[in-house]
């Protein structure tokens, strides 16, 4: 695992295969060097706020440059994670990109209302997915300078 203080992308995705595909797509474009993959919403929140198994990091919190957040996850779903992040003054500036299976999903709209910055439809077509991931990662990591 990469050093925490240089984490650039936090990927919250319960599907191992989807995560692998996303990571491969990012790697292909050299963007997965400082990536952390968590498997559910609870773990995502633990990581960000230094709780649970990430308690050791508490004194040395470093927020990711972008969070790729799947909506449907066990325990705490993406929407709840988004709510907590956007409702907290410490984290509400972190860009959040929603990962969804369908753009028709009613949750997409809700996510925007909650302050999500963008979304990616996970298409069946791998090439399309890789391209979308690449574009977004590129935008959020390189072009979008988060406020300090």
């Amino acid at each position: 695992m990469s050093p925490l203080n240089t984490v650039e992308i936090l990927l919250a995705e319960d599907s191992q295969h989807d995560a692998e595909l996303a990571i491969r797509a990012l790697k292909k474009h050299n963007m997965a060097n400082n990536l952390v993959h968590v498997k559910d919403g609870e773990e995502a929140l633990d990581f960000i706020f230094g709780r649970g198994k990430y308690e050791a990091n508490k004194g040395n919190l470093h927020y990711p440059k972008v969070i790729l957040l799947d909506i449907q996850m066990p325990k705490v779903n993406g929407i709840e994670v988004l709510q907590q992040l956007k409702g907290n003054p410490l984290t509400h500036n972190i860009p959040v990109v929603i990962l969804t299976s369908s753009k028709e999903h009613p949750d997409v709209r809700l996510c925007y209302e909650l302050g999500a910055n963008s979304y990616i439809v996970k298409p069946v077509n791998f090439e399309g997915f890789a391209e979308a991931i690449r574009n977004l990662g590129f935008y959020w990591l390189l072009l979008n300078q988060p406020p300090d």
Partner: protein, 578 residues
């Protein structure tokens, strides 16, 4: 109870007959009064004349008597020479003057009698003169001469003349009386005839009126009974209220539905049947309805509630229809308890929501493994492609293309189910511009196929732009797909008016289809060609059918195997957006 006027009954309503009859009877009675008054006037007039005549006769007789007194007085003096005979003589002269004056005034309007009276005056003058001469002669002690004067008979002749003239005047007076009496009597008789005629007419008219009104009342009662029977036979709870919103009639069904008995509802405001929270709104609606009364259902599209005697509220459906009665405008409200239907609707709504959720989860859950298959097959091709032989790479390709196809199928299915819920928002759509744009896009995407396009001017229609666009895309891509294997593909797009209906069509010279399967074309997943021949999911035309149906239009197709197909659809001009 009130009666519904029957339009076809008679031209005079009972009320009108009553008014006309009353006017006629009152007029006749006034005429009778007038005639009676005239009759009594006549009777009085006759008795006045009788008195007048009697008075005249009396005075004529006195005049004659006076002449006798005059004669007797003069003669007595001549014979006796006593002065006491002179007294009646002097009195008679005074009496003559009196009587003549009275008769003058009594007869002033009758020239004949006045002439007789003049003669009378003349003779009386002579009579008085003669008597005075006799008395004068006797006073001169010429007894002989005065006796000769008596014996000459001159005085007697004057007296006789007076008597005769008096008698004549009496007769004239009597005749006049008779004449006047008979004139009055004939007038009275005529008036009597008129009176009896009028009274008989009034009697007949009254009888006719009574019979007519009785008949009307009987008819009205019969109509009320029929109406009451109809009301009771109505399948729904029926409430009739007047313009002020007071309940006037209810049927048994209404008693059962609301839990009140008839007596408790009659004359109460209809608001007793409406939840208190809706009273104000209902008052406004009622006034509005009364101003523009027509048959309609109440509060179309709104949830209506009624309240029972025990306070229980329940959903209802209400139809209103106005009736004009002789007691003013009434409203018949048919009330139906739709609790059961509402419950079913709720169940249906829940089921639909569940189905929707199911569709989404299916689309999600089905897509996730597909992503894995395609993604990892792609990785296999990319990273291990050099370790596979040609057949291995072909198989990897087949896996990918099949999986992508399944992804498309799921997408189409999702689009199809989404359309059932999507709102149709109509606006003006210029079909010519829309179709040209689609053709341009498609030609770019299928640049390998050279198609001869033949397109006319298409009308502007009221439609939902997004879904109508989908219709054209599906039909045009279909036409391209099925004509792509023709030697020279041709597609014709146009519109025509048929019996006032705007029909759009799109015709190709492609593979066509057997006309006997044309109804299967528009069913979901129903295809007339194999996947190997022409790829497709079988959702496109089903989607077209669904969109056009939601616009209130129709869609159909004609075809012949090997000779092309023609698809038609209509967009009605005015469709209720509800």
């Amino acid at each position: 109870m009130f009666a519904i006027p029957k339009p076809s009954m008679t031209k005079f309503s009972p009320g009108r007959i009553l008014t006309i009859g009353t006017v006629i009877i009152c007029g006749t009675i006034a005429a009778v009064f007038f005639i009676s008054y005239r009759q009594s006037q006549r009777v009085q007039n006759t008795s006045e004349w009788v008195n007048h005549t009697q008075e005249a006769i009396q005075h004529i007789q006195r005049l004659v008597m006076n002449a006798l007194d005059n004669e007797t007085g003069a003669r007595g003096y001549v014979i006796s020479g006593k002065d006491n005979f002179l007294e009646p003589l002097k009195r008679s002269v005074i009496h003559f003057d009196e009587e003549i004056r009275i008769l003058d005034s009594l007869m002033k309007d009758n020239p004949e009698q006045l002439r007789s009276l003049d003669s009378m005056k003349n003779i009386i003058g002579r009579r008085i003169h003669f008597s005075d001469s006799m008395v004068a002669t006797r006073k001169l002690e010429a007894l002989r001469a005065s006796i000769e004067m008596v014996e000459s008979g001159v005085g007697k002749r004057y007296t006789d003349q007076i008597r005769e003239l008096g008698l004549h005047m009496e007769q004239v007076e009597q005749a006049l009386l008779q004449q006047r009496k008979s004139a009055n009597e004939s007038t009275i008789r005529e008036l009597n005839t008129l009176l009896y005629t009028l009274l008989t007419a009034v009697l007949l008219l009254s009888i006719m009126m009574v019979r007519r009104i009785r008949r009307d009342i009987l008819q009205r009662e019969a109509s009320e009974r029929r109406f009451g029977a109809l009301l009771q036979a109505a399948p729904d709870a029926t409430i009739i209220s007047d313009e002020q919103g007071k309940i006037r009639m209810v049927n048994h069904q209404a008693e059962r539905l609301f839990g009140y008995n008839q007596k408790e509802m009659i004359d109460q405001p209809v608001e007793i049947l409406i939840p208190a929270s809706l009273h104000t709104a209902h008052g406004h609606h009622r006034n509005g309805f009364m101003k523009k009364a027509s048959v309609r259902s109440m509060g179309a599209g709104l949830e209506l509630f009624a309240v029972k005697k025990d306070g229980q509220e329940f959903p209802v459906e209400i139809s209103l229809s106005p009736i004009r009665t002789d007691e003013g405008l009434m409203v018949i409200a048919s009330v139906r308890d739709i609790s059961a239907r509402k419950a079913l609707e709720n169940t249906l709504r829940r089921t639909n929501a569940e189905l929707e959720a199911f569709t989404y989860s299916v689309s999600h859950d089905l897509r996730a493994p597909l992503r894995g298959i395609v993604g990892f097959t792609a990785i296999l091709e990319e990273e291990y492609g050099d370790k596979l032989d040609e057949e291995g790479r072909r198989i990897a390709g087949v896996i990918k293309s099949n999986t992508l196809k399944m992804g498309n199928l799921i997408d189409d299915l999702l689009a199809f189910s989404r359309l059932g819920r999507q709102e149709i928002n109509k606006s003006q759509v210029d079909c010519t511009a829309l179709v040209k744009e689609i053709i341009a896009e498609m030609s770019k995407a299928h640049s390998e196929i050279i198609i001869h396009w033949n397109m006319g001017i298409l009308p502007v229609v009221e439609a939902d732009p997004t879904t109508l666009r989908q219709v054209w895309i599906n039909l045009i891509s279909n036409a391209i797909k099925y004509s792509s294997k023709s030697p020279s593909p041709e597609i014709e797009i146009g519109a025509k008016l048929d019996k006032g209906e705007q029909i759009f069509y799109i015709k190709d010279n492609g593979v066509g289809f057997d006309n006997k399967y044309r109804d299967k074309l528009f069913r979901v997943f129903s295809r007339l060609h194999s996947e190997e021949e022409f790829e497709g999911t079988g959702v496109g035309l089903a989607l077209v059918d669904k969109i056009i149906t939601r616009h209130g239009g129709r869609v159909w197709a004609e075809g012949k195997t090997g000779e092309g197909a023609c698809f038609y659809f209509t967009i009605p001009e005015e469709v209720d957006s509800r």
